[in-house]
Symmetry: C2
Subunit: 578 residues, 2 copies
C-alpha cells in the first residue's frame, strides 16, 4: 500500500530526527525558549542547535542567528519553534531553505485567536508545504517520541516509554493525562500535543499509530475535527486492529463555548460526534482519568465474549455498589444457576449471599474465597469477573501485626525462615527458580492461612498445590522470581520498619500471578479492585487493581463495547488484537 | 427538650464506656474474636475483660467464662459480641443480668439470612430491652469513638479523630471510606457500622450526631430504612444545623437484589428515596469517594449564595473539561461582562480566552494569574470560584531543576539564604513570626517570578506586598510559621534529595494561605484542583486540591444544593452552619 508508506515516511523526521534546531532557545529562565531547549537537551542524544538573534551561546551550545546559518554539512531534520507568532513566518521560510523536513510550532496566537491569526497560520502552512516540511501545531505543548528519547516539550513533562500513543488537542489535558500515567507507571510510545492542527490532522497521527507495531492502544483528546469524513475513513482502519479511545468534551453549552475560545475548533453537537465515533469504531469516554483507566484495561485484559458478569466480594455492601455500577453501564450481573449455588453452599458458611455478587459474608476461610474465582470463570455463562478487595489480603497482615506483638514476632521468624529459601543471586535457570518458589509459596500459604484463616492442614496443602500452577508459565515465573528476590534484598538490607508491610510485599506478587494465571487459563477478563481509594502503580507483572468499582465497571463495559464492534465489523471470531 | 436528653444519655455508655467485656475474645489468631479483642486493646485505655468458655487468659488478660462471672465491684458498661449467632441469646441475657448498658453485636447470621435469623434477632432484642441495653448491629464490623479512643472493630481499621460522624449499613463500604479518609488525613468523631439495625436505627445515630457539637458533617451509607417517616422527622432537624450526606445504592435491579441478600433491607425505589432525602434535607451522592470529597468541601468552604461560577485555568483544555463538568451538574458558568473582559485585557496577552473559563493561554507572567482570582471574587455576579492547576506552581520548580544545573545551583543558594531568615526555635510571638515570614515571602516571590515568570521588579514587589495580607490573619499565621519551620528543619537536617521539591514544599503552604485568605475575605467558596490525578493529603491549613474537575464540580453543586435547602427551610439569611 502506498498510503502506508506515505504517512510512516512523512513523519519519520518528526519522530526519529537525527538533529534538531530550537528556534527561540534562550538562556533567560523566565521564557519558554529556555525550558523547551533544556527539556530537549535533557533527553535527546543527537546534535541540538539553538537559534537566537541576540545570544551567541545557549546553555553551553553555540547559537545561530538563523537556521540557514547552521553549516551546510550539519543538516537539520526537525525544527522546534518557540518564538513570538510574528517570528514564525520568516523562520519557517529559513527552515524550508535549510531543507528541514519536520517541525513543531509551540507558539500560540494563530487560528485559535480569530480571523487574523488564521490568515497567519495559512501563510505558515503555505511556506511549509514548499519543503515539504510537515509540522505539529501551532499553539501546542510539543511532543514525546520514545524511539528517539525526545522530550520536545515547552517544559520538561515527565514521561516514560511504553505501549500507548496519545494525541491531544489540549496540552493541558495532555499534561494531566501523561502525569497521571507517569505516577501509575504507564508509558507512551508517542505523545503529541497537536494544537491547532494546521498541517498534520488528528486522524493522520492516529493512522500513523495504527501502523506502528510498538503501539498497542491509541488515546485521543478531541475538541473538534476539521474533516469528520476523513477522520472516520482513516480511523476505521486503525480501530479494527487496535483500540482507539477518545475523550471528547462539549456535552454542554458552557463546554462548547470554552472549546471555541480555546482551540478555535467547532465543537459540533455531542450526538454528531457519538455517531462519527461509532462509525469509526472509536470508544468514547467522558473524563481524563477514564482515558488511562480504560487504556490499562485494554493493555492487560482479553476481550470478553459478552456482557455476562460475575462479581466476587469479601463484603456485601461493596458488592451492592459494584452491581449497581455494572448494571448502570449495561453489564449483566448474571443470576447464578441452582447448580452453582449448590457448589458454593459446599465451601461457604450458610450466611453467604447465595447469589451474584458472591459474598462469603466475613468467612475467615480465605481458601474458599480464593477458590471461588475459578469456580465462576469455568462457567460458560460467565464472560468476565470482577474480583473485589484485592488489596485486603496484603493489607491484612500489615494492619494485624500492629495490634499483637506475638503475631509480629511470629512474622519476623517466618520471614527469616523464608529468606533461607530465596537465593541472593539471580539465575536464568527456570527449573531452579520454579523449585525455590514452589517451596516458598507452599510455606507462605501454610502460614498465612494459619494466621489469618482456616488452619485445616490438608485443605491448605491442597490449595498450595493448586496455586503453584502459574509457576509453570514461562512468562510469569522469571518476573515473579526477580520481584521476590527484590523484596528479600530489602529485608536483608535491614531497612524494614513494619514486618507486616514486608509480608504484604511478598504476598502481593503471588496474588497478582494468580490473577494473571486465571486470565490466561480462561481467556476472560478478571478485573480486580482495591478498597484503599488510591490509584496504585501498575505492577511489573502487568497487574492493576482499580481503586473504585465504578472504574472496573467502566473498563469492562468498554471491553464489551469494543468486542461487539469487532464482531460487527469482522465477524464473530476476529483475529484477537494484540 | 427531653428528646435531646434521651438519645445523648442513652448512647453515652456506648460511645464513652468506662469498661468493656469482649464476649468471644480468644488467643486463636484465625478467629475474629482475636482481632476484635486486640483491636480494642490497641487503643482503649479502661479495663477490658475477655469472656471465653474455654480459655482462662486471653492476650495476658484474665478471662471469664461468663459476663456474670466478672466480679460485682467491676461493672461493665459495654459488651462486644464476637460469638457464633447461636451464642448471642444467652450471653445477651448474662449482660442484662450484669447490668451492661450498651453492646455491639458483630456476629452475622440474623435478619439478613431470612425468617429464622429474623426471629433470633427479635428474641435478642426482647432480652436487651429488659436492661435496657442499647446495641449496634447485629451483622456489623463494629465502631469507633474518638472521645474514648475506642476501636471496637472486628479488625484494626486505621482511623483518626476528626470532625466527621459516619454511620454505614455496610461494613465493607464503611471500611473503604474510612481508609480513604485516613489516607487523605481526614478524621472521624464517630464511625459506626450499624449492620441490621435491630435496635438503634440509622436516624437515631444521625440524631445523636446532630446534637454533638464535635460533629461538623454527617455521612451515611444507607441500603434501606425501616421507617422512612421517622427518618425524615429526625434527620430534618439535624440537616438544618449541619450537612447530612448519604450514599444510597440500589439504582439498578442488580443493585437492589444485592441489597436484599446483603442487609436484608428492602431497597425501595430509588425515586422514593430521592423524595425522602429531599424532605429530610439529605444530600445524596452516588459513590463512596463522593462521600469524602463532599465532606471535605463542607468542612472547608463557606456556602455559596447561588450557582454562578467563574473558572480560572492555566490551560484551555482543562477549562473546557471543567466547564462541561460544572454545567452538567447545573452550575452556571457565567458570561463575563464587557467591563471584566476589559480588566483582564489589561493584564493578559491578547491570546487569552476573553471569557469564562479565564485562561491566560500559557502566559509566563504568573503574577497576572495570581491576581485574577480576586478580580473574579470581588464581582457580585460570581458566587464561587474554581481555581485550576493549583499544584502547577510547586511542581514547576521540581521539574525545572532537573533540566538545568545552573537553575538547581541557584535554588540551593536561595534556600540557604532563606534558611537564614527562618528561626529554628518556635515562638508564640505573633509579631515576631509575621516579621520573618514577611521577609521570607518577599524574597521567595521575587526569586520565583524571576526564575519562572515575569522579571519586572516593581510588578513583583507590588505583588509580594499585596499577598502578605494573610499574615495579619491570627488563625493562619501561626500554622504557616510552624509549617515553614518544619520544611527548613528538613533542609537543615540535610535530607534533601531534590532541591526543587523542597522549594515546592516552601511555596505550597504560601499558596494555600492565599486561597484561605481569599475564602475568608470574600466569603465565597474557592475550590482548587490539581493536575496530577492523585488524591492529596488534607493540609494542616485545611486546604485540599481535588485531583479532578469532576470532583470540584460535584462538591460545588452540593454546596449550592444545601444552601438552597437552608434558604427554603430557614429563609434567605440562615444562621451559617458552623
Amino acid at each position: 500500500m502506498s498510503g502506508r508508506k506515505t504517512i510512516q515516511i512523512a513523519l519519520e523526521p518528526l519522530f526519529d530526527p537525527k538533529s534538531i534546531a530550537v528556534i527561540g532557545a534562550t538562556n533567560s529562565w523566565n521564557k519558554w525558549g529556555f525550558s523547551t531547549f533544556a527539556s530537549i537537551l535533557s533527553s535527546f542524544r543527537g546534535p541540538v542547535y539553538p537559534v537566537n538573534h541576540s545570544e551567541s551561546e545557549v546553555l553551553g551550545h553555540k547559537a545561530y542567528a538563523r537556521v540557514t546559518d547552521i553549516p551546510a554539512h550539519q543538516p537539520v531534520d526537525l525544527a522546534v519553534f518557540v518564538v513570538p507568532p510574528s517570528g514564525v513566518l520568516s523562520t519557517m521560510a529559513d527552515c524550508v531553505e535549510k531543507g528541514v523536513r519536520a517541525g513543531v510550532i509551540i507558539t500560540a496566537g494563530f487560528a485559535e485567536t480569530g480571523e487574523e491569526g488564521r490568515k497567519l497560520q495559512d501563510q505558515v502552512l503555505d511556506i511549509a508545504r514548499r519543503g515539504p516540511l510537515r509540522f505539529i501545531g501551532p499553539n501546542c505543548m510539543g511532543f514525546w517520541s520514545a524511539s528517539s528519547n525526545l522530550r520536545a516539550f515547552m517544559f520538561p513533562l515527565p514521561v516514560r516509554p511504553g505501549p500507548i500513543a496519545f494525541v491531544t488537542q489540549g496540552g493541558n489535558v495532555g499534561g494531566a493525562v501523561t502525569q497521571m500515567a507517569y505516577h501509575r507507571g504507564l508509558g507512551f510510545h508517542r505523545y503529541i500535543s497537536c494544537g491547532c492542527t494546521a498541517d498534520i490532522q488528528i486522524e493522520d497521527y492516529i493512522e500513523h499509530f495504527g501502523r506502528d507495531p510498538e503501539v498497542k492502544v491509541v488515546l485521543a483528546y478531541i475538541e473538534g475535527l476539521n474533516d469528520g469524513q476523513r477522520f472516520i475513513e482513516k480511523v476505521k482502519r486503525v480501530s479494527r486492529e487496535k483500540p482507539v479511545i477518545a475523550l471528547k468534551p462539549g456535552r454542554t453549552e458552557a463546554g462548547s463555548k470554552a472549546i471555541s475560545s480555546h482551540s478555535g475548533a467547532l465543537a459540533g453537537s455531542s450526538d454528531l460526534y457519538d455517531s462519527a465515533f461509532r462509525k469509526a469504531g472509536v470508544i468514547r469516554v467522558n473524563t481524563a482519568e477514564a482515558l488511562i483507566d480504560v487504556a490499562i484495561g485494554f493493555l492487560n485484559q482479553p476481550l470478553p465474549k459478552g456482557n455476562n458478569l460475575a462479581i466476587i466480594t469479601p463484603g456485601g455492601s461493596y458488592g451492592v455498589i459494584s452491581a449497581d455500577a455494572c448494571a448502570a453501564l449495561g453489564l449483566n450481573v448474571i443470576k447464578l444457576s441452582h447448580e452453582t449455588v449448590a457448589e458454593f453452599d459446599k465451601i461457604f458458611p450458610p450466611r453467604w449471599s447465595r447469589g451474584n455478587p458472591v459474598d462469603p459474608a466475613g468467612d475467615r476461610n480465605f481458601i474458599a474465597y480464593m477458590q471461588a474465582p475459578e469456580m465462576l470463570l469455568k462457567l460458560p455463562e460467565v464472560d468476565a469477573l470482577v474480583f473485589m478487595g484485592f488489596d485486603s489480603f496484603s493489607n491484612f497482615s500489615s494492619v494485624f501485626v500492629q495490634i499483637s506483638e506475638t503475631l509480629s514476632d511470629a512474622l519476623w521468624t517466618l520471614i527469616k525462615e523464608l529468606a533461607q529459601i530465596v537465593p541472593e543471586e539471580e539465575s536464568q535457570d527456570l527449573e531452579f527458580q520454579v523449585d525455590w518458589m514452589t517451596k516458598l509459596i507452599g510455606r507462605i500459604v501454610q502460614v498465612f492461612f494459619s494466621f489469618f484463616g482456616t488452619s485445616d492442614p490438608s485443605e491448605v496443602a491442597a490449595f498450595g498445590q493448586r496455586q503453584i500452577g502459574f509457576l509453570k508459565n514461562e512468562k510469569i515465573a522469571p518476573v515473579l522470581a526477580r520481584k521476590l528476590q527484590d523484596v528479600f534484598r530489602l529485608f536483608r538490607g535491614g531497612n524494614v520498619e513494619n514486618i507486616g508491610v514486608l509480608f504484604g510485599q511478598v504476598f502481593q506478587p503471588l496474588l497478582e500471578c494468580l490473577v494473571l494465571y486465571w486470565i490466561e487459563r480462561y481467556q476472560k477478563p478478571v478485573i480486580t479492585t482495591s478498597f484503599v481509594g488510591q490509584a496504585p502503580v501498575l505492577s511489573d507483572l502487568g497487574h492493576y487493581a482499580y481503586p473504585f468499582s465504578e472504574q472496573a465497571a467502566l473498563v469492562l463495559s468498554k471491553l464489551v463495547e469494543y468486542r461487539r464492534y469487532l464482531n460487527r465489523e469482522l465477524g464473530e471470531n476476529p483475529h484477537a488484537p494484540s
